[in-house]
């Protein structure tokens, strides 16, 4: 009888320890998988700035200087197939149809293609890399040639890129292209070579209305944080959970 009871409690102990051990094993076994999910995430320390971008659609006048100066600053090929930054014009007509256009990325400016009496509303949307925190593009790079810098900027190492173009497929915003001469992928760096020297990115330097700003999201009193507090901002394609850090004020639901 006594021996039986001991046996029972021992069995219970064994059972418990097996369950506990199993749980520990399972969780420690699963942990490496969290590594698979996102290429980068917001760092916990705030030593480095954590850059984001704010674009005020209300202020954009569609001059296209941002797209033009981006190409000049970053030696982007002039042909109309390669852009780090461009401007789109959305026109919602009275009949409900949507027309989107971006002739040469807006570099040569816009001429009005739809007559006034057919327009319900129309506006410009400047586009550039969203500098996603959970960037799908850096996630898929097979060799570690594109990565998120400690400041949260997705960069491409052109000395290491193999040109497989998987990142181009993975970017939902169409912000990457294969450089026709270098044969490696190229994209917006938020003018990393400028901002590290205290200069504004070229697109922001040449924006006549100050429609675009960039700033440190860690700095809660900074320009960008104030912009986010003051306006009702949205990001592009939020359902894809890319952690985009490009915030638009007054973004219309039609914008893709």
């Amino acid at each position: 009888m006594g021996a039986k009871r001991i046996n029972k409690s021992r069995r219970r102990f064994l059972k418990k320890s097996v369950v506990a051990g199993g749980t520990i094993l399972a969780t420690s076994g699963l942990k490496p998988f969290s590594v698979l999910i996102f290429a980068a995430k917001e760092p916990e320390d705030t030593l480095n700035p954590w850059y984001g971008i704010g674009i005020d659609i209300e202020k954009c006048i569609g001059c296209g200087m941002c797209a033009k100066s981006c190409k000049l600053e970053n030696d982007v090929p002039q042909e109309p197939f390669y852009f780090r930054s461009w401007v789109e014009q959305y026109t919602i007509k009275n009949d409900g149809t949507i027309k989107v256009e971006s002739p040469n990325g807006g570099i040569d400016g816009f001429s009005q293609s739809v007559p006034d009496n057919e327009i319900f509303k129309t506006f410009f949307v400047p586009k550039m890399c969203n500098q996603c925190a959970k960037s799908p593009c850096t996630q898929v790079c097979p060799v570690g040639a594109t990565y998120e810098s400690p400041e949260g900027i997705a960069l491409v190492d052109e000395e290491y890129c193999i040109g497989c173009r998987y990142c181009i497929q993975a970017c939902p915003y169409g912000c990457r292209y294969l450089h026709p001469e270098k044969k490696t992928v190229d994209k917006c760096t938020l003018c990393y070579h400028r901002i590290t020297k205290g200069l504004k990115p070229a697109c922001m330097e040449t924006c006549p209305t100050g429609a675009r700003i960039y700033g440190d999201l860690n700095d809660k009193d900074g320009e960008l944080s104030l912009f986010l507090k003051k306006h009702n901002c949205q990001i592009l394609k939020p359902h894809l959970n890319t952690g985009s850090k490009l915030y638009y004020n007054e973004l219309s639901a039609e914008v893709r």
Binding site: F81, F83, V100, P142, V143, G163, G174
Partner: protein, 393 residues
């Protein structure tokens, strides 16, 4: 760059300005196609070995050598497509753990070195020793090198060949599933692209791989028999046809399920995909992949399950069906790879694709990559002729 200006004039609706050029062309269509043929051929071979479907014996070595010939080529279009082909080694030296593509190098090497080469080696080792004794000069040395210095043909050692080969095949089946399911995952995990992003993609790729691989071995078995002027083993061919039918049923069901699910859910991307399917992919999807590549073979093979016409008719039918399926699966890959890039990720328009004749990504290059594995296979069949193997007494 002139062709890009031409593309510019052929854009429908709105596309993001970087989307005019298709980044993955015909070479990336060939990549899942060829790896699929490898995985399929290998699985047919393992049916004989592991599941003891003895009637398939005449195709066993042929299937293995086919898998090897195509696997050797599988990686070449991929590497030649890279912007910087000489940096390809980086995928082995610094694979990035988050990338679905990163372990391809290792999966490929595992499959080549540990599965296929080993299985073939165990299967042929005794013959290699015997052949090296028959031959003279250069080829004698070649066969000797291929034995890796294991000349022992005592019954005990030969029994080990059999046993170890069996183990390798057992490991090989999940490896073949991994190889091709994984290729499907490379596409299926791209959340930015609604045409690719489906959990069914790896399974669809796997089953279509089996379909194409079995069809390829069926085709090759008939061709090789005709060239050697030997009688085709009809029960074997019928059996291959039977498996082809079963796998084709699965493949068709899965692909139909995928499309039905897509249509019923009708997500944000539905309109643009609907236009894609009914427009730019109309012929390649409905006619080449659907009707000719799936429905007609399915009905014919299904009919053979109920009623068996004369041998001559069956032979001709199998020959035509295997070719139809090979073409159908090629266009399945085409519809996935090319189709997924024809529409803009803004869901507002289309770009177009024109296959050039010459150049690294042109039609002729693709033909070359497609013919190369057949040449390698011809050499392998000459070097390691399955029909000259001596039965172990």
């Amino acid at each position: 760059m002139e062709h890009l200006y031409e593309m510019l004039s052929r854009v429908d609706g709105y596309i993001y300005p970087n989307e005019i050029e298709l980044h993955w062309g015909i070479l990336i269509v060939l990549y899942p196609y060829i790896t699929g043929l490898v995985a399929g051929a290998f699985i047919l071979a393992s049916l004989e070995r592991v599941f003891k479907v003895k009637v398939l014996k005449p195709t066993y070595q042929l299937a293995l050598l086919t898998a090897l010939a195509f696997l050797i080529v599988a990686i070449l279009p991929l590497v030649s497509h890279l912007g910087k082909p000489f940096r390809a080694y980086e995928i082995m030296t610094t694979p990035q753990s988050h990338s679905a593509m990163a372990i391809f190098g290792f999966v490929y090497l595992w499959y080549l070195m540990v599965v296929l080469l080993l299985e073939i080696w165990f299967d042929y080792r005794r013959d290699l020793v015997l052949w090296s004794e028959e031959k003279k000069g250069f080829w004698r040395r070649v066969y000797k090198i291929l034995t890796l210095g294991v000349f022992d043909v005592s019954p005990k050692t030969v029994a080990w060949d059999e046993k170890l080969g069996y183990i390798v095949t057992v490991i090989g089946i999940p490896s073949a599933f991994l190889l091709h399911g994984y290729v499907g995952f490379i596409f299926g995990s791209v959340k930015a692209n609604p045409w690719w992003s489906t959990v069914l993609m790896p399974v669809i790729f796997l089953f279509s791989a089996m379909v194409s691989g079995i069809a390829l071995v069926m085709f090759l078995y008939m061709v090789v028999s005709w060239i050697r002027k030997v009688e085709i083993d009809m029960p074997c061919l019928d059996e291959v046809g039977k498996y082809l039918f079963y796998v084709l049923v699965f493949d068709f069901t899965l692909e139909a399920l995928d499309q039905v699910h897509r249509i019923y859910e009708a997500e944000e991307s539905f309109e643009i995909l609907h236009m894609l399917v009914n427009g730019k992919l109309n012929i390649t999807l409905f006619v080449l992949q659907g009707l000719l590549g799936t429905i007609i073979p399915l009905l014919t093979l299904g009919f053979f399950r109920i009623y068996k016409p004369k041998e001559k008719i069956r032979k001709t039918a199998y020959f035509i069906i295997s070719l139809l399926i090979l073409m159908g699966i090629f266009f399945m890959r085409w519809n996935v790879v090319i189709g997924g890039q024809l529409f803009s990720k803004s869901f507002l328009g289309f770009t177009s694709f024109k296959l050039g004749l010459i150049g690294g990504e042109g039609f002729l290059m693709a033909i070359f990559w497609m013919l190369l594995p057949f040449c390698i296979l011809a050499f392998l069949l000459w070097l390691l002729p399955p029909w000259k193997k001596q039965e172990v007494s």
